[in-house]
Every structure is written in structure tokens, then in C-alpha cells.
């Protein structure tokens, strides 16, 4: 079995050589389908419904890119990846991009040969516990059993947090969010730790969300964003500016409802450039001039996507917080379109 893994790895590597050489953008266009690596199932971010249709905050980024490149947001093949398999899947060419709540870190960007193209969710790591445990702060978790997804940055943050606070814990390693939920609900761990957005999404899927609390401590910075392979700048640009277009669209008030209207021309030259009325921005990335219009039409601008998938009106009920526009006191700041 071990041997076949190696041969498989080599075979995948062999296939990917062709992909990388041809340029991902041309490859996606030729294939007519975008392979997008997503979570195996995290309500609100990426989860399939009963009919197998994927939806969620991360999925919307895949759709926007597919719309910009291929003209059709439905031409996406969603490849579910675990914390363990995601980067290998990207490096080997199995997926064209990752949109899977992955933290942008130095070593991933450099040593793992990935390129994070931006941040679509500013997150931090937290803890969820049962209310009847009587714990109100993460500092009271000394000696607790903690469920933790393996292969994630949270694993390292957890070790650092307990060490810094001179506390001990029993790590219970799990492979996917689903397994973590099961272990946590079965009581095999006192606390479940992952990004707070992930905790909120997990809690929303419980039958009794009111019996679980997310502790106030945020023990790390987790900028989550889409990633592409290192070395293909053109494709990186396409994904980066598609994400920026969604963010800028919210800033300028371009929504999925009014984008067609605004694409006929407005008083604001920035909007005109974004929507391809003025200038040749689309051509510079190897796309046509309507790319941003299609991307915004796919599932709306950043604010619309947020509200529809994880916002306060949804069961996950996340506040915008750090993820508000810079004009609203948040961190979202799209570079100028010119």
C-alpha cells in the first residue's frame, strides 16, 4: 500500500508538470471548468446541500472566479479537501485554487510554495465548550481534553497558548470538522478549538446551539484567504483581483441587482474602470472587460455574500467585525482599480 502511495504521488506529480507548464488560466479555459478545493463540509463556508449543490462563503469565491474566467459561475468542480490534503491537492495540480478557510502564514507562503492572493475573512482561534461545564474563560481550561484538527495552524497555536499560560491539556486529534463535532458531542473532549468562524458554523449545525458557548479569548490571528500555486503569477492575479473586485464592489455600492445598470456607465470613473466601461483592465489579466461584472453577478458583492452565507441573519450569525470595509472601521481594503 505504501508503495502505491509513492507511485500515486509520482504519477500526480507527473500530471501536474503538464498543468504548471501550460499556465493555469489557459488550462482552466481549455478545460471549461474550474477545479476549486473547498472544505469537506463547514456550514456557511462550504457545504453541499441535499442535492449536492455547494454553497457558502468560500464557495462564492470559487463561483466568482469561474464567472470571471469562464463566464458561468456553475462551471466549478468542487473538490473537498481536509486540513491534511489541501496543500498537496493544490501543489499537485488536482485543484486550480484553494478557497478553504486556510490561514495565510509565512511558511505556507514561502516554504510550501503557495501564494495567498488575499484575505476574505479575518479570523482568530477560539474555544467552544458546553455551557454546563461552568467555564467562562479559556484560562480555566487547565487539564482539559481539547479536540483539535490535525494539520492546521490551530494545532500549533493551541500548544503555544497552553504553554504561555503554564497550563496542561490532553490533545485529542481529529481529521475533519465532522469528526470533531462527533467527538465533542460525545463528550470525548471538554473543548473544541478552531477558528471562531468555524466554531460558530459548527455550533449552528447543532440541535441545541444555546447549550454551547464560545469563550471570549481569541488566541491567534487567522487571516483566511484563497491560495494558488506559487510561480503562476497570471493565474494568481486573476484570483487576487476577482476577490478585490468583490470587495471594491461593496465599497462602491455595486450589487448583483444594480451591476447591469451601472455597467452601462456611471459618473464614478473607478466604478467604470472596475466594470470595464473605461480602460482595458480585463485584458491586462488575460480576461475580457466584463469579467468583474460577471464575478459580481455570480453571488453578489462581498457584503451580499457575507450576509447571505454567514451574516447575522443566518443561523451562524457572525458580525462583520474586522471584516467590515475600511470605511466602516474594518480591515477590508481593496487596492485601487486603475
Amino acid at each position: 500500500m505504501k508503495k502505491s502511495v509513492l507511485l500515486g504521488t509520482l504519477a500526480v506529480a507527473a500530471v501536474s508538470a503538464g498543468v504548471a507548464a501550460a499556465g493555469t488560466l489557459d488550462d482552466v479555459k481549455a478545460r471549461g471548468e474550474l477545479n476549486c478545493g473547498v472544505n469537506t463540509g463547514l456550514v456557511g463556508f462550504a457545504a453541499p446541500d441535499a442535492n449536492g449543490n455547494w454553497s457558502g462563503f468560500d464557495v462564492a469565491v470559487c463561483k466568482a472566479v469561474a464567472a470571471a474566467v469562464l463566464g458561468d459561475p456553475s462551471k466549478v468542480k468542487y473538490v473537498p479537501t481536509t486540513g491534511q490534503t489541501r496543500f498537496t491537492a493544490l501543489a499537485s495540480g488536482e485543484v486550480d485554487m484553494l478557497s478553504r478557510n486556510s490561514t495565510w502564514t509565512f511558511s505556507r507562503d514561502t516554504d510550501l510554495k503557495l501564494d495567498f492572493v488575499g484575505v476574505n475573512y479575518y479570523d482568530g482561534q477560539g474555544f467552544m465548550v458546553r455551557k454546563d461545564l461552568g467555564v467562562t474563560s479559556a484560562k480555566e481550561l487547565d487539564g482539559a481534553s481539547v479536540c483539535i484538527q490535525t494539520g492546521t495552524t490551530t494545532e500549533l497555536n493551541l500548544a503555544d497558548f497552553f504553554k504561555a499560560n503554564n497550563m496542561t491539556y490532553q490533545p485529542i486529534t481529529i481529521d475533519s470538522n465532522a469528526e470533531g463535532e462527533q467527538q465533542y458531542l460525545a463528550g470525548a473532549c471538554d473543548a473544541y478549538t478552531t477558528d471562531i468562524s468555524g466554531l460558530a458554523a459548527t455550533r449552528a449545525s447543532y440541535a441545541d446551539p444555546e447549550n454551547h458557548i464560545i469563550l471570549p479569548e481569541v488566541i491567534s490571528k487567522e487571516p483566511l484567504g484563497p491560495a494558488v500555486r506559487h510561480g503562476d503569477s497570471q493565474w494568481g492575479d486573476v484570483v487576487r483581483w476577482t476577490l478585490n473586485a468583490l470587495i471594491a464592489a461593496e465599497e462602491y455600492g455595486v450589487t448583483s441587482a444594480n451591476v447591469d445598470e451601472l455597467a452601462k456607465g456611471t459618473e464614478n470613473p473607478e466604478i467604470n474602470r472596475l466594470l470595464g466601461v473605461e480602460g482595458e483592465l480585463g485584458k491586462m489579466t488575460g480576461l475580457d472587460n466584463d469579467w468583474a461584472v460577471r464575478a459580481i453577478k455570480a453571488s453578489g458583492n462581498y457584503g451580499e455574500i457575507f450576509a447571505a452565507t454567514i451574516g447575522e441573519a443566518t443561523p451562524i450569525a457572525l458580525a462583520r467585525g474586522l471584516n467590515a470595509q475600511w470605511t466602516q472601521g474594518g480591515l477590508l481594503y481593496a487596492p485601487p482599480f486603475r
Binding site: 509520482l10 510554495k113 500549533l156 500548544a159 503555544d160
Partner: protein
Amino acid sequence: MTSASDAPEQGFRLSQLIYDTRYRSLTIQVVTFILVMAGVAWLVDNTIQNLNQLGKDFNFGFLSNRAGYDIGQQLIPYTNDNTHARAMLVGLLNTLWVSVLGCAAATVLGIIIGVLRLSHNWLVARLMTSYVEMFRNIPVLLWILVCIALLSEVTPSPNAYKINPETGESAVSMLLFDSVAVTNRYTAIPAIEFTNSLGTIDTAFAPISLNFLLIAVVLIVSIWGNRRLKAHAHKVQNETGVRPVTWWKSLLILFGPLLVVLVALGFHLVSPTLKGFNFTGGNNVSNAFVALWLGLTLYTAAFIAEIVRAGILAISKGQSEAAYALGLRPNRTMKLVILPQALRVIIPPLISQYLNLTKNSSLAIAVGYMDLRGTLGGVTLNQTGRELEAILLMMLIYLAISLTISGLMNVYNKSVKLKER
């Protein structure tokens, strides 16, 4: 060559390589060898090329970096400040630990079941048959998952042992005089402690407890002494025909020194107590370990039972009849006649069962037991992104373990082999 008719006196022709039976097999071997080597060369070249294209190099430097993650079960001291290499070692020891205990338990269970399956008692024989058929025909992964599901769903959480201040009682009470607590995370068992401890010697690998070292030495000396006693009794029996009474001397030699040492060291057990979220003070045997061990044991025991049964059935009935005719009792017959011969049949397939169990222990990932696959092939691989290096290293280690087991068992096999004179 003398029987062959004289070949026409001609020089060597190329077609002889295919049509001449003297050269044909050589030709085929050379061609196959070249093809295999070309395949290997292509794979290696392809890998190097693709690694270059991805901008990745091939080195094992990551092993000396700080690991940064924690491991649940550690047989040697480990903290998240240690290196990836140390984490790998911890995982390797966990693999060996579950494999050794699994092999031992599977052998005992397998022999019992194999012998019982030959029982003349209809019910016992059928029960054992159904055990074997059920366990060996369902994938071992499912048995491991069944074990973990049973352990985590049926057992109470550590909280249940908390004493309710109103009633003064806990929902669940501990077993065996309050010394063992079975929970849905682990089984808390008493720890061994010594009042007059001799301390430990710190080595880079692991601290060695002098107490256990002393106990081991005493045990070995006792066993050696017992053997000498038996040999002496044998000699006396051969000379005089009367075997001296040895049982109480044996007991004294085996357990006397051990007891003295234990009392001198102040040996006692410390029961685990619930403190905060979890039990402390004792040893917590994680459910992941128990489930993996149990699953592997139950599964492999079914195969070993069949091997044992086959070994016993391979000895012809005439052998035991001859032994009875010589006046040997059934248990002496089994010990002196049947088993020595059956072992020769049993051991070679037993080796491969041990190898299977060891390799199957990599299914630990299913229950979150941090074995070699979980540390080197899991977290380390993920955190460092060194897939090729980690997988290659892991393959090498498993290969080395398997070859070692196989080598040791072959030595044992030689020692029980038929001595031809």
C-alpha cells in the same frame, strides 16, 4: 553438456540469444532488468524534474526543526519544543508499543481459540468457528471503529465521577476499590510508585528508572536460578531415577528475591483521582489506544487460531497414538510430541500475521492514536509540507520494522526446526 549432440562448428550469431536455449533465459533476464531499471530511472527523473518545477528541494533538514505540536501518548518524554525527529521517535515507539502488545494478545487469544475449535464439545467448537468466521471476514478498520464507538458512547465521561455536593455521591463509581475509572476518553489505572526510589539515569533517549532496572535484573537472575534448579533435578532423576521435589524451591527462587526487592523499594500503587476536568495521579490509557489494540488483536487472533488449528491437524494421529502406547499422558503428549512438530508448521505463517498486525497498526489514524503515521506522516508532513521525504522515511521505517520482525522470527523458526542428523 555432455549429453547434448555436437553443435555445428559456427561462430556466435545474434539470433542465438533468442533461439538458443543456452542463452535465452539470460537474454530475458537482461532485458527485464534493463526495463525495470529504466522504469525506476524514469520515476526518479520525473520526480526530480517536478520538484524543480514546483521549486521544492529534497532534504531532511525539517527533522531538526521545532515540532510545535503535542502528542497525547508519550512513552518517552516529549514537549512541543522538541524536534520533528523526536516527535517521529515518539510516534515510532507508539507504533511498536501497540504492535508488540497486539502480537502478544493475538497469539494468546489465537492459540486458545484454535485449540478450542478442535474441542469435542459441540457448542464450544461451533462458537469458536463463528468467532473466526466473523472476525476474519470483516475489515479490521471496521472492528477498530466499532471498538472506539463502543468505548466512547457506552462509557461515562470523567464528569460523571464528580461527587455531587448535595447527595455526597457520584453518578458513577470507580472499579476495583476505587482504583480504576473507565471513561469515554481513557481508562485511568493506578500508577506504580516507590517510596525509597533509587532515582533515574537521564540519557538523551529517555530517562531509565533504576527501580525497574533492578527489578528486571532480579527477575532475570531468578529465572536463571530456577533453570539451574530444574537442570539439577533432571540430572538427579537421570542418575537415580527419583526426581527431587522442586515446586516450593522454584516458587521461592522465582518470587522470594522479587518480594524482598519490592518491599525494600517501598512499592505501592497510586490510584487516580478526579481533578478538574480529568483524572490525574494514575496512568490514563487512552481509548484510541485500547480501541486500536483491541481491534487488531481480535482480528489477527482469528487468523492465528486458524494457523494453530492447521498446525495441530498437520500432525498425524499415529503420533499421539504412539505416544499413548509409550505411556505418555495427554498433556505430556501435547508438550513433548505434538507441539514441537506443530510449531514447525505454525511459525512461518505466524510471522506474516505479526507483520500484518504491525502494518495494520497504521490504521491508528482512524481513531486519532498518534503512531508513526500520525506524527511523521500526519502532523509533521502537514506542518512542513515535505510529503515526499516524510512518506519515503515512513516507508523505510516500516520496512525496517517488518524485516526485523521477520528476521527474529526466522531465528526462532530455525531453533524449532526439525534437527536432521
